[in-house]
C-alpha cells in the first residue's frame, strides 16, 4: 500500500478520534444539545471503508460513522453545527446528531434512525446506477443489531438477486445498545449470514484500518465491474456507551480492556513507525493539526446561528 495512502488513513483516524474526544467532553460539560453517539474504537472501519470509495460513489454512513463523513469531505464545523442544531449544519437544525446529514454533492445519503432503513435506500441508489449503466457504487453500514431486522434480509436478498453494485459494511461491535451479540442471535458469524443470500462476504479485523480498506476496496471494485454485491463484516468493540448518557455498566470491564489494547489508532501508529512511513514528529504534528482543526470547528459551530423559527415549515416538500 502506497505510503501517502497509509498516512492519509492514519490522519483521518486521528481527526475522527480528535473530533469524538472533543464532542464527548463538550457534552459532558453541558455544551451539547440532545444526545450524541461516540464512535470511539470504530475509526478503522468508518475511515477505511470511506476511503475505499471513489468520488462519484455514494455512501449512507450510520450513526457511528463519523470518519466516513469526514473523508467524504464534510467539514468538522458543519458536523458540529448539526450536532448543535445550528442553521449551518447539513440538516439546518432539522435533524439530530449524525442523522439527516445528507449532502448529495459529497455523495452522502443522510441517515435515519429507523433500523435498517439505510440498507434498502442504498440498494436503491445502487440500482439507479445499474439502471443508467453508470460505473458507480453505493455503500452503507449496519450494526450487529441491525442485522436482526427484517429489512436487512429483504435488502440482501434483492441485492443478490439484482446483482446490484452494492457494498455493505457490517460493524460487529458486539453490542446493540445493552444487548450483547449472544442475546441477539444464535449464530455469531455475520459474514456467513450475508453469504447465505449469495452475496460475496468476508470478515475482517475491524481495528486494522488497512485490512478494512483492502477488503472494502476489493468489494467496491467487484461492484464497479458488475460482479455484484458484497458484505464485509468488520469486527470491533464499542468502547463507550451506546450514546452519551449511557455509562455501559453492562459491558464487562475485561472486554473493554482487551479491546483497548487493540486500539485501531495506536496499532496503526505502531505499524507506520515500524515500517518507517512516519516518525514521531510527523505523528505529533498530525495530532496538533487535528486538534487545531477541531478547536476551530467547535468555535465556529458554537458561534453559528440557530435557524430562524420563521423558516420552520420550509423544505417539507421539494
Amino acid at each position: 500500500m502506497d505510503a501517502d495512502l497509509r498516512i492519509s488513513l492514519h490522519a483521518w483516524m486521528v481527526l475522527t478520534r480528535t473530533f469524538d474526544d472533543a464532542m464527548v467532553s463538550m457534552w459532558k460539560q453541558g455544551r451539547g444539545l440532545g444526545g450524541t453517539f461516540s464512535q470511539r474504537g470504530h475509526e478503522a472501519i468508518s475511515v477505511g471503508a470511506g476511503m475505499a470509495l471513489g468520488p462519484d460513489d455514494v455512501v449512507a454512513p450510520m450513526h457511528r460513522d463519523l470518519g466516513t463523513y469526514l473523508v467524504r469531505g464534510m467539514s468538522p464545523e458543519r458536523i458540529f453545527s448539526n450536532l448543535l442544531g445550528k442553521a449551518t449544519g447539513p440538516s439546518r437544525g432539522r435533524d439530530a446528531n449524525l442523522h439527516g446529514m445528507g449532502d448529495l454533492g459529497l455523495g452522502i445519503i443522510g441517515y435515519i434512525s429507523h433500523i435498517p432503513q439505510a440498507l434498502p435506500t442504498t440498494l436503491g441508489a445502487a440500482m439507479a446506477f445499474r439502471y443508467r449503466g453508470e460505473r458507480r457504487v453505493a455503500m452503507t453500514f449496519v450494526g450487529d443489531g441491525g442485522t436482526c431486522s427484517g429489512g436487512f434480509h429483504e435488502t440482501l436478498n434483492m441485492a443478490a438477486l439484482y446483482r446490484a453494485p452494492f457494498v455493505l459494511v457490517i460493524e460487529n461491535n458486539q453490542y446493540a445498545y445493552s444487548t450483547p451479540l449472544h442475546q441477539q442471535m444464535a449464530v455469531s458469524d455475520l459474514a456467513a449470514r450475508a453469504a447465505s443470500y449469495g452475496v460475496a462476504a468476508e470478515r475482517v479485523d475491524g481495528n486494522d484500518v488497512e485490512a478494512v480498506y483492502r477488503a472494502v476496496s476489493a468489494a467496491v471494485e467487484r461492484a464497479r465491474n458488475g460482479e455484484g454485491p458484497s458484505a464485509i463484516e468488520a469486527v470491533t468493540m464499542r468502547m463507550l456507551g451506546h450514546a452519551i448518557h449511557d455509562g455501559a455498566e453492562y459491558v464487562p470491564a475485561e472486554l473493554l480492556e482487551e479491546w483497548a489494547a487493540k486500539d485501531p489508532i495506536e496499532r496503526h501508529r505502531n505499524v507506520l513507525l515500524e515500517d518507517g512511513v512516519v516518525d514521531t514528529v510527523d505523528l505529533e504534528k498530525m495530532r496538533e493539526v487535528a486538534q487545531q482543526r477541531i478547536a476551530e470547528a467547535i468555535a465556529e459551530a458554537e458561534k453559528a446561528p440557530y435557524p430562524d423559527p420563521a423558516t420552520v415549515t420550509e423544505g417539507v416538500y421539494a
Binding site: 445519503i109 443522510g110 434498502p120 440500482m127
Partner: protein, 333 residues
C-alpha cells in the same frame, strides 16, 4: 378548483386511463420505471394495470420484486434520491402497511431533513364493496394524510386517474396514489389523449347544487352523484365536491361550497373514526362556522375491520342509499 372531465371524444375505463398515464410517462421520460410484485413479464400485475409494459419497455423498466414491501419501497427511495422516478405498485393498498417505515419515516421526512427529494409514486389499489374481505378492501389514506411530507391522491374518474397519475409522476415528492379498485372496469369516461395533467391539490365540483354540499372522493363520488339524482327528484339540489387530492387538501373549494349551501355531509369508504373526513369536518367547523345552518355531518365505514360476507360488508360501507338518507336528515335540520 379546476379540471374539466375532458371531451377527448374517446372513452376509457378507469383502469385503461391509469395504464395510459404509465405509458405516456414511460415513453416521455426514461427516468420513469415501474416495480412491484408481479407487475412484469407477460403477467402485468394482479389487476393487469401494467400489462404490456414489460413487452414494450423491457424488464429493466418494469421490474418484478420479491414479497418485500419494506425493502422495495426502500429501494424506490434510493432510486428516487438518485434521480429516477419509480412508480411502485403495492399489490393491494392493504399491503402498504408492510412498507410503512419506508414511507412515513424515510420518504416523508427526507426532504425536510436534508434536502434530498424523493420523487416516487406508490400506486395502491384500494377500497372494497367487492367481497374481498378485511385484507383486500382497505382504504388506509388517513394514515398518510396525517403524516407530514407526503402527498395523497385519490381519483374518482378515468380522466382524473390519468391526469393525476401523470402529475404525481412529475411531482418531485413522494405521492401515494389510491386507485379505487371497484372502479377499475366499472367506470368509463372521456379521457384526453397524450400528456393530460390534473394538478395535485385541486378539488372539483362534480355537481353544482344550492341546498347541501357532499364532500367526498374515490368510489363514493359515484354513490354521492347517484344519491344527488334521487334527491333532485324531491327538489333537493345537492352540490358534490370531489376532493381528488387528500393531501394537500383544497379547503378553499370546500369552504366556498359550504358558504353557499350552509349544509355539509362528508363521505368516504374508509372508516369514519379519525378518518380523512374528520379533518375535512374539523376544518369546515372551524372556518365555515358562520355559514353553517346545520351540524357538519360525516358518513364513513364503521369502526370495524372490513367484513367479507355481503350483508356485513354492505352494513359496513356507505352507499347511495345511506348518503341519501343522511342528506335528507341534514336538510330537515
Amino acid at each position: 378548483m379546476s379540471g374539466d372531465q375532458g371531451t377527448g371524444g374517446r372513452e376509457l375505463t378507469y383502469l385503461e386511463a391509469i395504464a395510459e398515464a404509465l405509458s405516456v410517462e414511460m415513453e416521455r421520460d426514461e427516468r420513469v420505471l415501474v416495480l412491484g410484485e408481479d407487475v412484469g413479464g407477460t403477467f402485468g400485475g394482479a389487476f393487469k394495470v401494467t400489462k404490456g409494459l414489460a413487452e414494450r419497455f423491457g424488464d429493466r423498466r418494469v421490474m418484478n420484486t420479491p414479497i418485500a414491501e419494506l425493502g422495495f419501497v426502500g429501494m424506490a427511495n434510493g432510486m428516487a434520491l438518485m434521480g429516477l422516478r419509480p412508480v411502485v405498485e403495492v399489490q393491494f393498498a392493504d399491503f402498504i402497511s408492510t412498507a410503512f417505515d419506508s414511507i412515513v419515516q424515510f420518504a416523508a421526512t427526507n426532504h425536510y431533513r436534508w434536502g434530498g427529494a424523493i420523487p416516487w409514486v406508490i400506486r395502491a389499489p384500494s377500497d372494497g364493496g367487492i367481497r374481498s374481505g378485511p385484507f383486500h378492501s382497505q382504504n388506509p389514506e388517513a394514515w398518510f394524510v396525517h403524516t407530514p411530507g407526503l402527498k395523497v391522491v385519490a381519483p374518482a374518474t378515468p380522466a382524473d386517474a390519468k391526469g393525476l397519475l401523470i402529475s404525481a409522476i412529475r411531482d418531485d415528492n413522494p405521492v401515494i396514489f389510491f386507485e379505487a379498485k371497484p372502479l377499475y372496469r366499472s367506470v368509463r369516461g372521456p379521457v384526453p389523449e397524450g400528456e393530460y395533467l390534473v394538478p395535485i391539490g385541486d378539488a372539483r365540483i362534480a355537481r353544482r347544487g344550492s341546498d347541501v354540499t357532499i364532500v367526498t372522493y374515490g368510489s363514493q363520488l359515484h354513490e354521492a352523484l347517484a344519491a344527488a339524482e334521487r334527491l333532485a327528484v324531491d327538489g333537493i339540489d345537492t352540490e358534490v365536491v370531489d376532493l381528488r387530492t387528500l393531501k394537500p387538501l383544497d379547503v378553499d373549494t370546500v369552504l366556498d361550497s359550504v358558504a353557499r349551501t350552509g349544509r355539509v355531509l362528508v363521505v368516504h369508504s374508509a372508516n369514519r373514526n379519525a378518518g380523512v373526513g374528520a379533518e375535512v369536518a374539523a376544518r369546515i367547523a372551524e372556518e365555515a362556522f358562520m355559514w353553517l345552518d346545520a351540524p357538519v355531518t360525516r358518513l364513513g365505514g364503521l369502526d370495524i375491520p372490513i367484513p367479507f360476507s355481503p350483508p356485513l360488508e354492505d352494513a359496513y360501507r356507505p352507499d347511495a342509499t345511506k348518503i341519501e338518507a343522511a342528506v335528507r336528515k341534514l336538510v330537515a335540520f
